[in-house]
């Protein structure tokens, strides 16, 4: 049976190479100084080791601007992600386990909202937020992040599949209130789904670019993607002083992707199962 899979394995190796190349390049480039980066040879291999120097420069550049962005990203991702998870889990459970008038109509509306273009939402949200003086505050980023129709869909499917009605009825007959039934009986059964939704919503807030880009104007409130986007514009608009900034952008990018890769690797048992449920419907 071995030889039969040789072709398949070669294909896998080729795919791994393709999907790893940018990350590998980023890792290698992070260890180079500006000279090594622009030396014009061996972009995919090491040339001196200046990683710690670069990290030092990164965190001290412009009064530690990067560290501030990192802190902002963590705040937005956890406040937005955790809030979104709580709201979506409650709603998914409500849609899956209760019948009430208008349920299907509301759910169809929620699903249909996935098609709404980002600009169609962000532009009016910006105008509405600026009317109440919330633009350029952390709330302008956190509050809209609480909304995730896809998370509600995922939780509805997950709750329907993993929480048996009989168990809920038994708890109710024993005199447990609805909230108690939810926390004690349903929630433990939905744990893998909850962790998937938490991970996905933290990631999507961490990665969000368009919303903070429009809502925030003072750079001290920027999350990482918007901050790095700002540096890119600076670096490409001034070619002379831009060289050292490219180094910072590269090492900054590395620092921004490491936490997520670690999160996905350590939690893979959960999200692999959780994503599966969404696709089986």
């Amino acid at each position: 049976m071995r030889p039969r899979h040789v072709g398949a394995k070669l294909l896998l190796l080729a795919m791994c190479a393709y999907f790893l190349v940018p990350v590998w390049w980023l890792l290698v480039a992070s260890t180079k100084n500006a000279e090594g980066l622009f030396s014009g040879s061996g972009a995919l291999w090491f040339n001196g080791f200046h990683l710690f120097e670069n990290l030092g420069d990164l965190f001290s550049f412009n009064n530690g601007e990067f560290l501030r962005w990192l802190g902002n990203s963590v705040l937005y991702a956890f406040a937005g992600g955790a809030g979104c998870t709580v709201i979506s889990v409650l709603a998914g459970y409500g849609f899956a386990k209760f019948t009430f008038r208008g349920r299907n109509a509301v759910f169809a509306l929620v699903l249909g909202s996935v098609m709404v273009p980002l600009t169609a939402l962000v532009i009016p949200t910006f105008v509405l937020m600026s009317n109440v003086g919330l633009t350029d505050t952390i709330w302008a980023v956190i509050l809209p992040s609480l909304l995730s129709p896809f998370a509600v869909y995922l939780m509805r499917v997950y709750a329907a599949a993993s929480v048996p009605d009989e168990l809920l009825d038994a708890a109710r007959i024993d005199g447990a209130g609805e909230l108690r039934t939810f926390v004690r009986v349903a929630l433990p059964l939905m744990r893998p789904g909850v962790i998937t939704v938490l991970l996905l919503s933290v990631v999507s807030t961490w990665n969000n670019f368009f919303l903070p880009l429009t809502m925030l104007s003072s750079s001290k409130l920027f999350p990482l993607p918007v901050g790095i986007g700002l540096w890119t514009q600076l670096a490409s608009s001034n070619n002379a002083g831009g060289q050292s900034l490219w180094n910072l952008i590269i090492v900054g990018s590395l620092v921004s992707i490491v936490p997520l890769i670690v999160a996905f690797l350590t939690l893979q048992k959960y999200w692999q199962g959780g994503l599966a449920v969404g696709s089986l419907k």
């Binding site: 622009f38 273009p117 532009i123 609805e178 368009f210 890119t232 599966a276």
Partner: protein, 307 residues
């Protein structure tokens, strides 16, 4: 479900279903508040904005559907729309083929390499889109990217993948790299849930590995494929982040009207034309809705494959 509600057969059932409605709403309430505040209200407001027009001399006046007729006649909007439609037609099949092939291979091969590959192929999903685009932008870079260096070593000129003529392909690669792994995981999960006794039966009937893959596995994951197609269609028509990020290093290939979303963004935040920008994004929403509807009807007709 609705039948028991209206027919009310037994007393106990009636009491339970009567109690349930209000409780069900309570669980959904927090979400509904957010949904109304950050989706429905802004959307209605954008719809309202799009019906007005603001002139320097005339002030704000009611325009009816003028902004929409203007939008669909606007060469900038039409050009951007044509670009995203063309891009969708190429990138969606490409992503799905990469994801499907990877998932089929990973479903067949076991061992350390397979487990490692599964993670590596999924890895780009954990990379923020901004940084994914930026990394490829670096790799394309003529001043420090490897593509140029390799080409120089062979004494040829490398194509700059972000130039006016090549940016379509440059972006195609970025998007395929970023999303194929996510789609692969969805297909892979669907494949894993197929009862393997079906394969045994097929093998006894004389089916080879290839036949099993294309005659059994692919049709059985068709609902996952449809889901992916719809996601990727919606996402691609709203193309924004990658070209926006690569703009500054693309030497002017990314124009302010490159895609409809970029156009609407620039109209609103560069030129403060919120009314016309709202009309543009609504028109885009209409196109997305139409595309998804056409796709759903088309796949439903071929009921034997997609159900």
């Amino acid at each position: 479900m609705i039948d028991t509600h209206s027919a009310a057969p037994a007393a106990t059932v009636v009491r339970r279903t009567k109690r349930a409605p209000s409780k069900g709403w309570l669980f959904i309430l927090p979400f509904l508040v957010v949904f109304v505040a950050f989706l429905l209200a802004p959307l209605l407001y954008a719809g309202y904005l799009s019906l007005w027009t603001k002139g320097l001399a005339t002030g704000t006046t009611f325009a009816g559907f003028d902004n929409y007729t203007r939008a669909f006649g606007d060469p900038s909007f039409r050009k951007g729309l044509w670009f995203v439609l063309k891009f969708s037609l190429v990138v969606i099949p490409l992503q799905i083929i990469v994801a499907l092939v990877a998932a089929l291979v990973l479903d067949e091969v076991t061992g350390r390499l397979a487990r490692f590959s599964r993670l590596v192929i999924f890895l780009p999903y954990a990379v923020p889109v901004v940084l994914g685009a930026l990394m490829w932008g670096f790799l394309y870079s003529p001043s420090f990217g490897p593509i140029e260096q390799i080409a120089t070593a062979f004494d040829v000129r490398a194509p700059f993948l972000l130039s006016q003529g090549n940016i379509f392909y440059g972006l195609l690669n970025v998007v395929t790299w970023q999303w194929s792994g996510y789609y692969m995981i969805i297909i892979y999960a669907a494949l894993r849930s197929i009862d393997s006794s079906i394969y045994e039966a097929a093998r006894i009937d004389g089916a080879g590995a290839r036949q099993i893959a294309f005659r059994i596995k692919v049709p059985m994951v068709s609902s996952a494929l449809v889901l992916i197609l719809i996601f990727s269609l919606i996402g691609t028509l709203q193309f924004f982040t990658e070209p926006q990020i690569l703009g500054p290093i693309a030497n002017g290939s990314v124009t302010p009207d490159f895609t409809p979303n970029i156009y609407a963004f620039n109209l609103a935040f560069r030129y403060a034309q919120f009314n016309y920008a709202s009309a543009i994004s609504f028109s885009l929403g209409f196109v997305v809705f139409l595309a998804v509807a056409i796709f759903m009807v088309a796949t439903r007709k071929r009921g034997s494959i997609f159900t």
